[in-house]
């Protein structure tokens, strides 16, 4: 079980990072005009005057019991705040993964059907472009084009799928393209090379010798065999995207965890930040676990233990 040491190490690292961030929550709370006494009083109320390891220990023992503390600013319970935003971020990330997958698969397959054709060159070009283009810049371009000039899609805001599926679709298209562009490029490249490799293998020749033509060979025999490395990539992408929500949610004003993280950092709201990071780390670990399970589902040679 590597999960628990992993959690302890990551949260400790985040706690130490807080030390490095210049600024003082007490000062942020009371304003520049606060007196030294008031600041000291508040610091001791918040426990900020204790050594960092003690602070961490206190936080950890509470966290283990499910108590992540309260926001220094709004007094909101951290776990409630984080979980209310988790749903939003989750919807955004899943939509982005879906976008990456559909886009990546389409381009990769189009590319291997006729190697060195214009489709192949196009998908390789898009693959490089998606990797190279910064997502915040892409976001701005798309907003200018689709929201400002054409007026087709909203520039900001988020509607949950449970409220209105059509509203959700409209609000999620641009953010998920921006968040998923990198993933789409990665999946295109990964799946393309893995498909090309699989299509050279002996069992593909066997499939052809049975009388199957190109499409059924790709569909039934090549694709599933090519997906293993793509699953690895997707697992990594998930963590990547969670990180990138910090930027994308800010650009599109989506009230998710990324935005919460940014605001907590700006306000020096340490308990909140700590809660966000903890939940993100747990999410990544869960996704790693799901990836491992998926391997054994896809490939009978891999046994899940």
């Amino acid at each position: 079980m590597y999960v628990i040491p992993m959690l302890i190490v990551t949260t400790l690292i985040v706690f130490s990072l807080i030390l490095i961030i210049p600024g003082d929550p007490a000062l942020a709370l009371l304003g520049d005009n606060a007196t030294e006494e008031k600041l000291a009083l508040l610091r001791s109320q918040l426990g900020l005057d204790q050594p960092i390891l003690i602070q961490y220990w206190n936080w950890l023992t509470n966290a283990v019991q499910g108590d992540l503390g309260r926001s220094l600013f709004t007094g909101e319970i951290v776990s409630d705040a984080v979980f209310s935003r988790l749903g939003v971020t989750f919807q955004l990330v899943i939509a982005s993964i879906l976008f990456s997958f559909v886009f990546g698969m389409t381009f990769a397959i189009a590319s291997v059907i006729k190697p060195n054709s214009w489709m192949d060159y196009l998908s390789r070009f898009v693959g490089t472009l998606g990797t190279a283009i910064p997502n915040f810049w892409l976001a701005m371009l798309l907003i200018v084009l689709f929201s400002v000039n054409l007026g087709w899609l909203p520039a900001t805001g988020f509607i949950s799928i449970s409220e209105s599926p059509t509203g959700f679709l409209q609000s999620i298209i641009l953010p998920s393209i921006c968040l998923g562009a990198f993933g789409a490029a990665q999946i295109t490249r990964q799946l393309r090379s893995s498909l090309l490799e699989v299509l050279e293998s002996d069992y593909i020749r066997t499939a052809y010798s049975k009388g199957l033509l190109l499409w059924p060979v790709i569909w039934k025999h090549a694709l599933r065999n090519s997906l293993l490395p793509v699953i690895t990539t997707t697992g990594l992408l998930f963590g990547n995207m969670l990180g990138a929500t910090v930027v994308i949610e800010t650009v599109f004003a989506i009230p998710g965890m990324g935005q919460l993280a940014v605001n907590s950092i700006l306000q020096r709201d340490f308990p909140m930040l700590q809660g966000v990071v903890l939940v993100m780390v747990v999410l990544v670990l869960v996704i790693n676990f799901v990836t491992d399970v998926l391997y054994s589902v896809l490939d009978p040679r891999i046994e899940f233990k």
């Binding site: 069992y203 066997t206 009388g211 009978p300």
Partner: protein
Amino acid sequence: MRGHNEPVLEVKNLCSYIPTSRGVIRPVNNISFSIGAGEIVALVGESGSGKSVTALSVMGLNSPSIKYEKESIISFKGANLLKMKKRQMKKIRGNEISMIFQDPMSSLNPLHPIGKQIAEPIQLHQGVSYKKAKKIVLQLLEKVGIPDPENRLNDYPHQLSGGMRQRIMIAMALACNPSLLIADEPTTALDVTIQAQILNVMKELQKDTDISILIITHDLGVVAEMADRVLVMYCGEIVEEGDVYSLFQNPQHPYTKGLLASVPKLRGASEKHLHTIPGTVPNPLELPKGCNFSSRCSFATDKCLSDAPDLIETGKDRRAACWQIVDSQKEEVTVHA
């Protein structure tokens, strides 16, 4: 020897080439042969002699970089396979002509249960559901000697041994009762005891179904065990052809002689070194001007170095391509005259 009047497969002037930046390579250079119904023909030769390219030409599975000269004909039951459209070829492949490959370890899809893999050609060519195909699959598994087939259906290839996997490949190839089976070195990747078992399975099935078999091998033991007729290939050409008994007893081409002499013997040869054919197979881009074998042949004359011999009749059902034989035939003619 079995009767085989009507040829199932007729290959005429098969000529394939690969244009490269350094010149044209001819993996198969103008070969002709036929396979009768129920006949087992062995295609023998070293690596790179064009055996597999010939087999894959029949299946239409050569890489697209290999092209065919216009006069090449591969006639299967009267239709030229080389001129066929993909859709038509699809109906023949796996249905009327099927193939077993060299390495059973990598020739089965690792992610599909073997039952589904064997059923696939049946479902494809007979348009039946997996449920219906399963009955045929069980019979096939029994035929190829898989014990307890019912419990094996859902096994994955990695759960089976090499010999078992090759049996699965055979079952798969025979699923639609093809009239021609191409076996490309079916025993090369297996150890010796398993080799014998696999050859036995193939022979038994051949007797039961009267299927024609083209077996590709470099193992003369396999040839002796299986074949009715033998084609010896060298550098993309057939250099000798004959029925298995007379060819083994009386090889005519120096290359065939060399091959047969290179087989290790248990008795009488313990003090001698193993015979080898001197030299190596020439680079396909720099083939000799005359006979392709001339650079390694101990009988080569000036004529061998300048002109290539044709494959000529040398007896009943015997053909060979060698100037020595041409000359000795001429001598016979003059003596008789």
